[in-house]
Amino acid sequence: MSGIQRVLVPTDFTVDSLRIALEYLENNVDNQRVELVLVCGYDLGDSITGLLGFTKDDHLARLQGEDFVKGCEMIKSRFKQTVVEMYADLLISKNARYVRNYLKGNRITQVVLPETYGFRFFNRHSFDILNVLKAVGLEALPEVVSLPVVGNETDNIDTMDSIFFRKGWKVSYE
């Protein structure tokens, strides 16, 4: 495979959800160079002042916590060879046509579907894009990568716990 794949990875802006991206990158054995787009559903609302006054970037800056950004940076420095770029984006509608256009317009070549992952949203405007993507129809999507990622059931004491100490993590020595 040549060129760079642009991969859509669903997220809910928690550090825990970065495990989807990690899982994807660890399964990426042939070191395909990728550009990760972390996408979350977000309803911009219908207030005219809100729509005029706030851009997508403002919303994104508010949604991404400090730890989330640090987690992203960590993944980027861990997979420096394969991850060309990594950024967050918002799907602002559940409309199937909008989603299809979004995928086409942004030239998404792969969509990651974490089948068993339970998103946790801390913002009332956010919505789960898994169902939206599925509603669009798998044939409309680019190449789909299904990953069996399970959400972290235990309550982490530190949010950063999520991307460490995952199952099967490498123990250096004991």
Binding site: V69, K70, G71, E73, M74, I75, K76, S77, R78, F79, K80, Q81, D155, N156, I157, D158, M160, D161, I163, F164, F165, R166, W169, K170, V171, S172, Y173, E174
Partner: protein, 450 residues
């Protein structure tokens, strides 16, 4: 402080002088205007009176004195004189004012509240002076009112200036005084206290921040010293006790030369141990705690973490450490931290050994990752945790949480580790759930690449 006050008083004086000058200027210009205006009105009435007198009632101007508004106490007068200075005849003129009247032209003057306007007229070979006098109502009433008003305004203004200046002075000095009070509270017995820093980036905040950094350094060296002394005294005591014991035993009764030799050999043995320990302590002191700020060198944090783990395992073989290096970056430059390796190792080994000590399975989980401009070390255990209401005190030296009675310790390790991390401009935070475990997160800035 004296200098401060002098500046303040100078400022108050300038403001007061300005206010007084302003009030004076207003008073002067209004009075001037009132006089000029009133003399003009008097001149008009005098001209009309003269016309009335010399031309009779059939004056062709079409209007006369009766049409003009009567002024307060208005009085017309005519003086007939000999052309020099002697009055021949006068109607209603106070002769004592004769000196002030111009004998050849127009003159305006004022006596008390009464204003005079006079003019010389030659008529049919005789010399007349026609004049009008009236009281200036504006001058007597309105200007008085204005003067009182300005005086009150002046007094209030000066008071305002003084009060505001003092308030400003107080608000300037207050934070400094607070800072002084806070610094006074800090002594050698409560070095863990810090000055409160606000969010803003003011000069005072910088000062507080500088003080706090200095206190960090002082506290760290204090603690290391205390630690060192308690460790050292304990370590030195053991061989000394055995030396004294052996000697006592040998001296308790008469013994053979062989027995004395044996005892001496044992004493030499113990003394050698003692010597080794003192030299080790000296080495520790030399490498670790001397000029630790000056010899910061680029060190690899993964190496330090591994060394720290080795140290912990060497101390207690029941301790297990599980390391997650899965997030190690591809680029090893991202792991380079500017710091002192022995100090960082001390800090990390302290936290790791705490994690092992306070958990039933004696296992610590250590993870390492690099973000954009720093590294993150996570040390996690599944131990007893820290009660939530005590989390605020865990950085105080000698503080031990209420659930640690069954564990030995002095309450020095965590404050020491935190101070070391702070010296490296890093951040140490602890989050914990009682009964579930504790996670310590250390963030250290990496070396900035040019």
């Amino acid at each position: 402080m004296r200098n401060y006050n002098n500046t303040l008083y100078a400022l108050i004086a300038i403001l007061v002088i300005y206010t007084v000058a302003f009030v004076g200027f207003i008073m002067y210009s209004i009075t001037n205007f009132a006089f000029a205006d009133f003399y003009k009105r008097l001149d008009l009435r005098r001209n009309l009176a003269a016309e009335h007198m010399f031309n009779g009632k059939g004056s062709h101007t079409g209007w006369s004195l009766t049409y003009v508004e009567e002024l307060n106490n208005q009085r017309e007068f005519v003086i007939e004189f000999d052309g020099k200075s002697s009055i021949i005849h006068t109607t209603g003129f106070d002769t004592s004012l004769w000196n002030q009247v111009q004998k050849t032209g127009e003159s305006n003057f004022k006596v008390g509240n009464t204003f005079y306007s006079t003019k010389y007229y030659p008529y049919k070979g005789k010399h007349y002076i026609v004049g009008v006098s009236a009281e200036n109502y504006f001058y007597t009433h309105h200007l008085n009112y204005l003067r009182n008003l300005l005086l009150i305004a002046l007094v209030l203004g000066v008071l305002f200036v003084i009060v505001v200046s003092l308030l400003v002075k107080r608000s300037f000095i207050k934070p400094i005084n607070e800072l002084i009070d806070e610094v006074k509270k800090i002594g050698s017995e409560n070095l863990y206290l810090r000055l409160s820093e606000e969010k803003d980036k003011g000069v005072l905040n910088k000062l507080a921040n500088t003080f706090n950094r200095m206190l960090n350094r002082i506290e760290t060296s204090f603690e290391t010293q205390k630690n060192f002394i308690s460790n050292a005294s304990h370590e030195l005591n053991t061989p000394l006790t055995s030396i004294i014991g052996i000697a006592d035993l040998a001296l308790s009764k008469e013994r053979s030369v062989e027995e004395y030799k044996q005892a001496m050999l044992k004493i030499v043995d113990a003394a050698e141990k003692l010597e080794k320990k003192t030299s080790a302590l000296l080495l520790l002191a030399r490498t670790g705690y001397e000029n630790n700020n000056l010899n910061f060198k680029p060190v690899r944090i993964d190496q330090i973490v591994m060394d720290a783990e080795m140290t912990v395992k060497a101390i207690n073989e029941r301790f297990h450490i599980k390391t997650d290096f899965s997030m190690l970056p591809d680029d090893s430059m991202k792991l380079k931290v500017n710091g002192s390796a022995p100090l960082l190792q001390l800090a990390i080994s302290n936290i790791v050994s705490n994690a092992c000590k306070y958990s039933a399975n004696h296992t610590a989980y250590v993870a390492l990752g690099a973000f954009e401009n720093g590294v993150l070390i996570l040390i996690k255990d599944e131990g007893i945790g820290i009660p939530e209401q005590e989390l605020a005190y865990i950085y105080d030296p000698y503080f031990r949480a209420s659930n640690t009675a069954n564990f030995s310790g002095y309450g020095i390790g965590l404050p020491l580790a935190r101070n070391i991390i702070k010296m490296h401009e890093g951040d140490l935070s602890v989050s914990s759930t009682l009964g579930k475990g504790t996670t310590v997160r250390i963030e250290l800035p990496t070396i900035k690449r040019l």
